[in-house]
């Protein structure tokens, strides 16, 4: 079979459980969690790839892959199903040697798929993860990497000092070269946080992966092992500063916040882009939405296939939802296919896919602006039975 040589391909790490999303990832891998009314988290890195001219993407899956695999399919929604493009799902597999088994860490996941990468004989490999909401031109980062003749380039962004110890922190020289990498440091020396987006020269990465696999003490992780090892062995590593919107949606609170940041006349994150840089998603053959005579829709995102008879304020209503007459939805994220029956009240909540809030029930509560908001969550397919009250911060 003929494989076209690629200058650059992407490997997308999508196998993590995302346990901090609690009930939302009980049956779904984090990258398949719905976002923004009609998207799933993985749509953002995948669309970024396509919009950056990267047409070959390996997607490493492990945890609860059914929905994620279905969603990716043959890559058609992102235009990755053409003769010389692909969205290839790469699950762990059995091997002739003793090295088979689950992906032990992020580096091991790539290691186990060296053969996939070799087919395209790439100069550069971009490593991405499936847990962030952002729009980024990876091509510009690869240009930067090439221009500086680096072995590895890491995307960084400024984070507040008090949050820096949650990230991998890069300490750089004035010319942008990295001299030190600290994974989640207690006393961070800078506020340059790694975004978990790496560009590698493939030959450098391949050798590093093989060496890492031979080291039995290694955790086989990019942040803990591969990056520090390359730095110690004298490779030129660059930091690439990205200052656009970027949000880790790994927790209930951050997922809720990121959805809220889509709202407003001048939103913090504007998904609308120019015509040629759209965020693509798998389509749900649903009709246009219907907003009833008695409905009120205020400062909200409402996706196609929804029917609104009640009041929706400062919320994201996803595809195929129903908000019944007299119901109130406020400051909430309503995932696809949810039914909110007449008279129900939903505040500060994330309602999981296809869940149902029965008549006259109450989910969540109100908070003062400066108060910490406790988000109530319903899991996929769950039913908040009539008369039940789901308290602020409670999960079903």
């Amino acid at each position: 079979m003929y494989f076209q040589k690629k200058r650059c391909i992407a490997m997308l790490l999508a196998g993590g459980q995302g346990s901090r999303l609690k009930v939302l990832t009980q049956k779904t891998a984090k990258p398949a969690v719905p976002f923004g009314g009609k998207y799933r988290i993985i749509d953002f890195p995948l669309s970024n790839c396509v919009n950056s001219g990267i047409d070959t993407v390996g997607i490493l899956t492990q945890y609860q892959p059914l929905e994620l695999n279905e969603y990716i399919g043959n890559g058609q929604p992102w235009g990755l199903n053409k003769t010389h493009s692909c969205a290839q799902v790469l699950p762990p597999y059995e091997r002739h040697d003793k090295k088979s088994g689950w992906y032990k860490g992020t580096a091991n996941a790539i290691y186990q798929n060296i053969d996939f990468i070799e087919r395209f004989d790439p100069d550069y490999v971009v490593i991405l993860s499936g847990d962030h909401i952002y729009k980024m031109d990876y091509a510009a980062m690869v240009e930067y990497h090439e221009k500086h003749n680096a072995s590895c380039t890491i995307a960084v962004r400024e984070v507040p000092l008090k949050e820096a110890s949650r990230f991998g922190i890069l300490n750089t020289n004035p010319d942008g070269t990295i001299y030190e990498f600290e994974e989640k440091p207690k006393k961070p020396k800078s506020t340059n946080a790694s975004m978990g987006i790496y560009v590698f020269n493939w030959n450098v990465l391949r050798d590093a992966l093989i060496a890492d696999e031979d080291d039995e003490t290694s955790a086989n992780d990019f942040g803990k092992n591969i990056i520090p090892n390359l730095l110690n062995s004298g490779h030129k590593m660059m930091a690439y500063t990205f200052d656009g919107y970027w949000k880790d949606v790994g927790t209930i609170d951050s997922l809720w916040e990121a959805n809220m940041e889509l709202l407003g006349k001048d939103p913090e994150f504007n998904i609308r882009g120019d015509e040629r840089r759209k965020i693509y998603a798998r389509n749900n053959a649903l009709p246009s939405s219907y907003i009833d005579d008695h409905a009120k829709t205020i400062n909200s995102f409402i996706a196609e296939g929804s029917e609104v008879y009640g009041t929706v304020r400062h919320s994201v209503i996803s595809v195929g939802c129903t908000v019944g007459e007299g119901a109130l939805v406020e400051d909430s994220v309503v995932m696809p296919g949810v039914v909110i029956e007449p008279g129900a009240i939903v505040r500060h909540a994330i309602l999981g896919e296809n869940s149902r809030v029965c008549r006259n029930t109450v989910v969540g509560g109100s908070f003062e602006p400066e108060e910490k908001k406790q988000i109530s969550v319903t899991s996929k397919g769950s039913v908040v039975e009539a008369g039940i009250v789901l308290l602020p911060g409670e999960m079903l």
Binding site: A285, L286, Y290
Partner: protein, 370 residues
Amino acid sequence: MNIMGIIFANDGSLGALTTKRTMASLPFGGRYRQVDFALSNLAAAGVRHVGIVTRHNYQSLVNHVGSGEEWGMDLEEGGLEYLTPYAMSTTDNYRGKLESLHSAMAFLEYGAEDECVVMIDASVLSNIDLKDVIASHIASGKDITVVTKAGICNGSRKIDLTMKLDDQKNITDMAVDYEAPADYLASMDIYVLSKKWLIKQVKEHIAHNLYHMDRDLVLGQWQKGLITVNPYVFPGVALFTETVEEYYHNTLALVDKTVRHDLFGYNHPVYTKVRDRVPTYYGEDCEIEGCIVADGCILEGKAENSVLFRQVTICAGAEVEDCVIMNDTVVGEGAELKCVILDKDVVVRPGAKLIGTPNNPIVVKRGDIV
């Protein structure tokens, strides 16, 4: 049984709305084009070999339907074909359905395994279970099945083909281009017939300079007692569009829950070309009441009893009532619109005022600035 589908794209009869498009590619219901219904009906019945007959202005149609990917019809074998007129055809251009089929004989004769043909027009919209129609056709043993709808004829509306049934469901009268009384059934321009029989009929008719499907084949042959006709009465919603006024009322009919749910939900989904627009944003002070809204709109003003297509902008202070607003149109601040059909890419200047009436809606053509 293998079924072949033939969709007639139909020339436009809606003035400015169809000067540059066929009836098939006329936008409908916020995110659709009329042809989506015919294609989705065929797709849901498992039909995977479909020809689209078209003769004028088919650029927008080809652009929309493409390879048929959205309907699962981009296949190695069979799949979707465009039956456009040949420049060197024996006639100048098609005069009727039979003539168009005659010049597409290669398509008809291809694929010996297709036993049955479903012919369907793009201008009558329904969500119909064609498997049931085909089963009825086979059970009837008749030559041709015509799908009909009660309650369309009213004595003043001119319908392509109408028929009257007695209590035993036998046809007692049939008429073409007739302002039939209310007790007549209107043909939905959906026919089921055997492929072999159709090919024979097409050849016979063309040889005798007959080309009109309804007049010559169905009515003419039935009157002479040469063919048998099985009327299938469709119980669901069917929207007939021949005039601007009908288009306007059919579009606004979607605000009615029964119409909307029948057309989009009961049998199967209706597929259309994916545009990847973001969800619609409803602003802080917008008032949207009784509206059908597609993705990608930015709504800051007021809209009532209207259908808003993809990426429509209604600025603050604008008031829209009983309107049909197609893709990418912008209604400026303080503008006031009532009973208006705005085609794609129209700009309504701030403060502009356009007032039509339900029986005579104003039509603003594509790309105009008013």
